[in-house]
Symmetry: C2
Subunit: 172 residues, 2 copies
């Protein structure tokens, strides 16, 4: 019944470290608080990433545009417990400023988070992260996405079905 | 720093009852679990809607398309503690099947939820709801959004700046 919330934005959730980055793909990401700045991500209980984040207590939300669709699909369909996903992808992992989890150079933003709470929600664990640093590219100006020039990736619905936002700005 | 997660989908969160519906607008909505089917919504602590949901323990997430932009803006900018927002809007509130909170006839989906958990997250309260019923229009077929024919509303960034998803389906 979750399909009625789609289409939704798609992001990378990066755990691990610069020696062994572990990226996955997540549509289930949400802002939670302005002050302190918090966001949340829901990760399946059986996922390798869940175990890593529980242990290292930090993660990065990296913001892909449509050019990274193949990497998004790779990160979302392989398991980090069995394969080195980072090696199968075409992106460059770089050190983050304030967390152990690495950032992705080709993403338009890398949002570094430290876990402040985790909550069981059915078959997922919901991690609440405090945003401790953000690095970004030209896709954002004054913390606003440049929707005229960048296509931010969205999952249209389950499976290999993606889209992006329109470049039309509409006003009420 | 939350601007780096935008653009994000925009929804109505409806509380109150059919006699006195209380809709607000929320970008901060997330799927949380397949089994049981759960979703979450973060609502500012000082919001009237927060008090209503805490009391009535249910709410509806209603899915607007671009045609409802003016109503989305009205619901997002007036306070339900001072005004009867429902009367200022052009939509039709109808009874939901399994919760007290009403549904919105003109929305493409109405997702009825019962609160199963609430968590403090900074300046917001995060309500976890179990989905107990969904009613929907032609905007969804087999629980999938029809992105070719419907423009699902998105908040491009803060303020009067909205957009919607592209009608192009892309495959990895």
């Amino acid at each position: 019944m979750l399909g009625y919330l789609y289409p939704l934005r798609t992001y990378f959730v990066v755990a691990g470290d610069i020696e062994k980055p572990n990226p996955m793909t997540a549509d289930w990401v949400i802002p939670l608080s302005f002050n302190p700045p918090l966001l949340g991500v829901a990760i399946g209980k059986k996922r390798h990433t869940r175990k890593l984040i529980e242990k290292q207590k930090d993660f990065v939300i990296a913001v892909p545009t449509v050019e990274l669709l193949k990497d998004v699909w790779t990160a979302g369909t392989l398991s980090g417990s069995r394969e080195n996903k980072a090696e199968r992808m075409g992106v460059t992992f770089v050190e983050s400023k304030k967390v152990t989890a690495p950032s992705i150079k080709e993403c338009q933003a890398n949002i570094e988070c430290k876990v402040v709470k985790q909550v069981e929600t059915g078959d997922h664990i919901f991690f609440v992260g405090e945003i401790v640093n953000v690095s970004h590219g030209d896709g954002f100006v004054d913390e606003k996405p440049d929707i005229k020039n960048y296509k931010f990736l969205m999952h249209a619905f389950s499976g290999k079905n993606f889209t992006y936002q329109s470049d039309e700005l509409i006003k009420p």
